[in-house]
Amino acid sequence: MRARKFWNTVPMKLWLLLLAAILFSFFSNDFGLVDIQKTAVIVAAGIDKTENGFSVTSQIAVPKGTDRAQGGTSSVNITTEGPTVSDCITALFGKTGWVPKLVFCDLILLGEEAVQEDVIAYLNYFLRNEYMPDNCLLAVCEGSAEKLLTSQSAIDDASSLAIEKLFSDAAEKSGKVLTNTLKDFAIGYYGVSESSYLPFVKMAPQKGAEAGGDSSGGSGGSSGSSGSSGGAEEQIYTAEETALFLKGKMVGKLPAEQTLALSLLEGNVFAGTFSAQENGQAVTLTVMRNSGGVSLDMKGTPTAKLSVDVTCRLCCRGTAAPIEDISSDVVSPAVLEDANKVLEGYLGALFENCKQTGCDFLELKKSLYRSSLKKYREWKDYLLDTVRPEIVTDVKSMK
């Protein structure tokens, strides 16, 4: 009754006016204040280390017109140099007259040489920038970031869009790639573990394919950089390896199997595949359900328990099989036993990698810090050296 009385006291017109004002603000599209002709909409940035500081390759989206035949996203790659990343970005304005806009920047690529130093030297600009989304993807690439960004992708007009496809939700769930964002990398860096990881992108020529002369790849940039030109060899990209970081420096890599193992530990995998053997023949299993975790037991010698539970179905055999076998998803006990061994091997290698590199991507220090500050202070310098692994895998078949 009281509630009804309250609602009756508020004029409906006022509610409608308020609602209209809020909806208008939301759908105003900033009142069209972004002048696309004067703005460099940076969709990806590649950072390399140079002798005098940094070089930043900005991939800038360019409107391609309404011609359906030439639809898609065109881009221009421009490389600028300077003593800081900020200088490189602002040099864009001096060289092109375009005002750099980072609000749509979804990818930052770090060159292989750049990650030999503390990468926060490059990334702090983006962390400080209120107009830059901190959930943009972050990755390391083989060789220089400029070379990768200016390469001609075989699968998309812009190389950054092709690379971002590698980091899609579906790709991540396959367990073939471990993605990370600027925000989460910074959390790892500034956390007690001081560790994080990034996908490691490689490119390789697509055999038997060349870009056409009217390719939408970018035109040349400034400072001696160039976009991909017509006729350049088309490239495909992979990111199955994972770069490990300790205190901002790259200290090692996870090969593809360990990338899968870490994905399984994080419980991320759905519809990803891995192979086991039966009678010496390869059998591929599809992960249908996955849970995993790492727990730390500090009683006696510190022990890290790495547990992975997987429910899978038979996906493919490397040999011919009768139709009765093809019609069944059930995985035989022999394959399950071998699958357990395979995963145990992956997890064991993963753990050794953690110890050897000192990169605490298993977050053992964080776990200890949260459970006992006293023990953390006692063990923080020795934990990774002394901790023993206890690996528990449970691979089950779909019934």
Binding site: R2, F6, T9, V10, L14, L18, I22, S25, F26, D30, V34, K101, V103, L127, R128, E130, Y131, P133, N135, D169, K183, A186, I187, Y190, G191, Y369, R370, S371, S372, L373
Partner: protein, 358 residues
């Protein structure tokens, strides 16, 4: 309506007062106390709730602050005291105003706009503050559901991305840091002083004092929950996230398809924050009106004049927010407990009597 009803007052305490603590305070507390950022806030809410309880006990007498003070201390002393409270509110209102300005410029624009983009706020405050304080009752009625929906929306989109274990271990930052965080956060807790200016305009009902304190604690619980979620999302980088309630919800996975739909809820909270920012100014004007009576043009003149002064101050401190925050939270922070925590219980023994000219 000449009085603020119980429902309207509870709406203010539970829904509106917490919004002012969601902009800069979380990052500030994270800078000082790290994962213990919620402890100083919890302590502040408990103390403020006690102060709110005292003020609402005073409301039972149906007298304004000036009537209470002048009845015991005399007219002159009463005027001086009530003007001092008004001056304090003017001072306390400066930091939220600068916060609001930075918030509008930083969140609603994608490049740094000029001060003029915030100037319409002063037209809004000049109009709003010329209205009698009692008319805020209807505003509380309107804003409470807006704040509730806005906060719920932000939390729904935020909670899923938070690692709530990040606030462990409790007390890791140490007693000294927690104490510094507690002292520094006084600047955001002056709600009891705002209520002091509403005395005489509150329609007192039985059990209102403890119910009001409970409502305030309810709002406080929401803020503490937000602080824990905020730290759970940003962990060690939380101190870099200045406009907290606009940051936490953006990681919701559905937004890659939907776009930033959370801005709808952020707009709702921003609307409430704008009214909350103007409230100290209204309180300051009310103190002058209580001390010198209410000639017809005075509220308008005061409102325009003080809004103009605030505009000048904002212009003066345009790029000195850090200095102002340090001055308020590290040097002048002691003023806040004096006017918000000490004054209400000290007023309780005063009998007071109705002043003729009031």
């Amino acid at each position: 309506m000449t009085k603020i009803s119980r429902r309207q007052l509870f709406f203010f305490l539970a829904f509106m007062a917490p919004v002012g603590k969601l902009i800069v305070m979380p990052a500030r507390l994270a800078r000082v106390c790290g994962n213990d950022l919620w402890l100083p806030a919890l302590a502040q809410f408990l103390l403020q709730a006690a102060a709110v309880f005292c003020v609402l006990l005073l409301a039972k007498r149906g007298k304004s602050l000036y009537e209470l003070l002048s009845g015991c201390l005399g007219k002159i002393a009463g005027k001086v005291c009530v003007l001092l409270v008004g001056a304090f509110l003017l001072f306390a209102g400066l930091l939220p105003l600068l916060e609001e300005k930075l918030f509008v410029q930083g969140v609603f624009y994608d490049t740094l706009p000029s001060l003029l983009s915030f100037a319409p706020f002063f037209l809004f405050s000049a109009y709003l503050c010329s209205k009698p304080l009692a008319s805020y009752g209807r505003i509380f009625d309107l804003l409470a559901p807006i704040a509730a929906v806005g906060f719920a929306g932000v939390m729904v989109f935020s909670a899923g991305n938070a690692d709530f274990g990040a606030v462990l271990p409790v007390g890791a930052s140490g007693p000294a840091a927690i104490a510094r965080g507690f002292a520094g956060s006084f600047a955001w807790f002056f709600d009891a002083a705002l209520l002091l200016m509403m005395l005489g305009k509150i329609e007192y009902k039985k059990n209102m004092a403890w119910q009001g304190a409970l409502c305030y604690l309810g709002g406080g619980a929401a803020v503490v929950l937000f602080l824990i979620t905020f730290y759970g999302i940003f962990e060690g980088t939380a101190l870099n996230q200045l406009f907290a309630f606009t940051k936490t919800s953006k990681y919701f996975s559905g937004f890659t398809v939907l776009g930033r739909a959370d801005y709808l809820f952020i707009f709702l909270l921003s609307l409430v924050a704008a009214f909350y920012t103007a409230l100290p100014l209204t309180g300051a004007i009310e103190s002058v009106l209580q001390a010198f009576g209410r000639p017809a043009a005075l509220p308008v003149l005061l409102s325009v004049g003080l809004s103009g002064i605030y505009f000048l101050l904002v212009y003066l401190f345009d790029y000195r927010f850090g200095d102002v925050m340090r001055a308020v939270t590290e040097q002048a922070f002691w003023l806040f407990p004096v006017f918000t925590l000490l004054l209400p219980p000290l007023l309780l023994p005063l009998k007071g009597r109705k002043h003729e000219s009031a």
